[in-house]
């Protein structure tokens, strides 16, 4: 986001922190869990591939725009490490492992387990530029295939946050069996990557919000709402998808930004920035 805001100072500060505090793994990927009160600060050295993708993507964008070869080199290193350890080929599919350890077919009884929201689709063409012989377009195609299959699991047409692909797709063991905070961002990532695929996008517009426009956490098996979230950062997602598909402009209240929690605020900024650049008619 500091790249999108063209704030080079913040970008360099965040990058310096990321490099010295998180990019510590033998394989060149980032440890995902950092706690200020713990010693050492990293309390779980596993990686999270959505984080790795986002880091590499931001570095690639900034390296290109600001003519900073150091950033581009770092991005290429992460892309190579992701290609080497972050993906798993299962049959014809190229899957994004949520973390390098603990999710693969050999790691758990219901493995491979994936998280469809980890596919940051817009980052994959950037990875392909950094590493042309990497499996990026297969990864993108497979992501959409497993997403479509995951949306058929429950009556709601919404995918669970965590999916077991051991056999027929089903919610993975040990996680809440719901469409939840992870999966909210899927349609945002899809449209930011330029997708206009109604079959994939419309179920989100229809089912992820209630009559008041609040975003729902949905029980996969029952198709019933467990929670309704009113933060603008969540509500803007189906609204933006609706605008991209059908031209319904975003309501005014969603167009003004006031920070709340980091996650919905991030989602709202990503949505607004996208609308401003690609779909001014939505504003």
């Amino acid at each position: 986001m500091s790249y999108l805001a063209e704030n080079r100072g913040d970008f360099d500060r965040i990058w310096a922190f990321t490099r010295t505090e998180m990019l510590l793994r033998d394989d060149g990927l980032a440890a995902w869990k950092w706690e200020p009160g713990a010693t050492p600060h990293v309390t779980d050295a596993n990686n999270a591939t959505d984080g790795d993708l986002l880091i590499a993507y931001a570095l690639a964008l900034a390296g290109h725009a600001w003519e900073r070869p150091d950033l581009t080199t770092a991005a290429a290193g992460i892309a190579a490490a992701l290609a080497a350890g972050g993906v798993e080929k299962v049959g014809d599919l190229v899957l994004l492992k949520p973390g390098n350890s603990g999710f693969g077919a050999a790691d758990r009884a219901d493995g491979p387990v994936i998280n469809p929201s980890y596919w940051v689709f817009e980052a994959l063409p950037a990875m392909a530029e950094l590493m042309p012989d990497g499996p990026w377009s297969e990864l993108s195609d497979s992501g959409k295939t497993v997403l479509a299959a995951s949306m058929k699991i429950g009556p709601s047409g919404l995918p669970p946050d965590w999916v077991s692909l051991r056999a027929k797709p089903r919610p993975a063991d040990g996680f809440p069996q719901e469409f939840g905070y992870n999966a909210f961002r899927i349609p945002l990532y899809l449209i930011r990557a330029g997708s206009r695929d109604r079959a994939l996008l419309e179920p989100f517009v229809t089912h992820m919000r209630d009559a008041e426009g609040r975003v729902l956490v949905v029980d996969i098996a029952l198709g019933q709402a467990r929670q309704a979230l009113a933060d603008v950062g969540y509500r803007i997602i189906p609204a933006l998808v609706s605008c991209v598909l059908d031209g319904t402009p975003l309501p005014d209240e969603m167009q003004s930004f006031a920070p709340t929690d980091y996650y919905p605020s991030t989602l709202q900024l990503l949505a607004l920035s996208f609308a401003r650049r690609q779909h001014p008619e939505c504003l």
Partner: protein, 718 residues
Amino acid sequence: MKPVLFIAVGILALGALVIHKAGYLDSGALPVPPTAPNATVEDQAQGGSSQPTTVAQQAPAPAAQDTPVPAAPAASSGPATAPQADAAAPKVDETALRYFAAKGDTRRLEAEIARLKALYPEWTPPDNPLAFRQGGDPQLDQMWKLYSEDKLAEVRKAIADRQAAQSGWQPPADLLERLAVAEAREQLVNASDLKQYDAVIRIGSANASLLTCGDVDVLWRVAEAFANTDRKGRARDAYLYVLNTCKKPEERVATIQKALPLLPRQDLDQLLATERKTADGKGEFEAVRGDIARQSLANADADPKLVISPEDIATVKALADKDGLASDDMLLGWYYVRRENPKDAETWFRKARDKENTAAASQGLALALIQQSRSADAEAILYEWRDANDDVRRVYLAAVANLLAVTPPVPLAPEVLQRMVQAIYAAKDPAAAQQLGWYADGLSQSQTAAQWFRLALDWKPDDEPSAYGLALSLWKTGDKAGAREIQAAWIGRSERIPTVGERSVETAAVGRRARNAARARAQDEDQRVAVEQPTRPASDGRASPQARGCLTSIDPSTLSPEQALTRAWCLMGVNRPVEAAAAFEVALRGTGKTQADAAYGQSLAYLRAGLTDMAAVAASKAPMDADRSVGVRTLLLENQATTAFNQGRYVEALMALDERSRIAPERTGLMVLRGYAYLKLRRYGDAEQVFRAAAGTGNHDALKGLNDVKTARETKIQ
């Protein structure tokens, strides 16, 4: 000037290391200590990321050998105080140097001088860095200030912000270089803390300027990373580099200590060979040599086949005599006990035990005594420690079993026999119970023998010798039906059990023990009673009921329920719960309060004896008042949880704890148990939460638990 000199040596060393790495990062030829720093090497640290590195590449070409070195700095911003003698002379940016000097930050000042010397070997630091003012750039000053406060990311931000605001502005190369090195150091240390050893080596290789005597900690971390990635030779070379080039005595000694757990002995010996004499003529590694000899003995304790040098043993003996540490005595004791030299082992364990009577010293001494067939002494020594831990308990029971197996049976004092019986019963140890059976059999107490064999068989159902003993004892008591039942059960599994009774009891009877039976029978009659099986003491007509006191053994069935109750509580008071349970059993025949008290007491007695199932039965024998009922139930569940945990049934342990927590608040100790049950079930989040709550009370086990969760999580990841 002393620090400068020292650092100058470090610089040469830096060059040395860069070359050195050609040795230990390459395929293994021992590095030759270099003399000139300008050699070119290929740094092939990790596959794929090889980067040709040359010292010359890191440093601008120094002025030609015969050119006078300019004495003054030539930083573009600084005031020039001396003419530039030669166009080829290096431009040395002394901004940072002067900043640190102005701040009085000598540590960084020294490091900066070292760095500049590395880059410009012919540069000499200014005599008085304070004589020059900084350039008058407050924003740059602020950046140096942030840098000196280790706020590296903030420096990055400040630079980028200024570049955005002031187009064309470039930070001093010096600042960028320092920043990159400091960031690399932070990254290396963080990766090292997370045991990401490949990353440590990768970062160290890419930042050779980190690897100097000025920051020995980084060198140690790189060495550790090599040692932990199966590159012991390279680890050794890195430690050798420190020893050959770095001068601070405490760092040199610490280097050996760091290497101690990581390197094999022959590599350690190479490191020790670099020892220098201190001012008082002693070797600087003398103390460490002691530790190494100790480690050698400890390794030999762990591996009885390991052969260690006699010098190591002599060294530890000398230390034990000189310093008088019980821990050294113990090391020697364990060494000898594992080498089947019980006499020497006994000597050393006794020395340790004379200094401090501990469970471990007593355990070692008992083992040495058992090896010398002095089990009675072993039993006596270890009795007080028998519950210290599982290991000690095993050794104690081994002493008991060995003592009971001695032929001819040794006369045992009644209180010794009594306490052994209690211990065997509490530990449910089948081997010792079996020996007790043979012991009773040897005293011609067949009924008692049968009861002990039966218990042994309960505790270990496939124990053929106990089944044999049981069949034999039952024949002897005339219980032919009982004997046949055992025989039928063992057909096909034992050759001798089905033949019991075919021969005369005299010839069949237990071999060696039978021969001694007559002799044993002649022994003190008191023993007879003490061996009685505890829950149902055989009747002994000689004993007369006693209303007061309970030190004499009597058959409680001869007492009235009220008398039995009094006696039972007395037995509980002297911690003889098994006998107490039998007395409570008699008291249960009473009515009203007597009966209720008896049920309560018996369940407590069984609980204390570790017989949870029987306690549960006892608790149901008569109605109890609410308080007592809750109390017993609480204890029962607690016991159930502990037992389930010890047997690896963690879910059950949690269920018992849950149930208990519904009727009584959870004690901290049980929270710890709960934490470990979660941990075993890999419910790390739950475990952490419980440990954290318990740790809040200052409980040390809980703190340890927290750490175990952390370790388990790390292990899970790798």
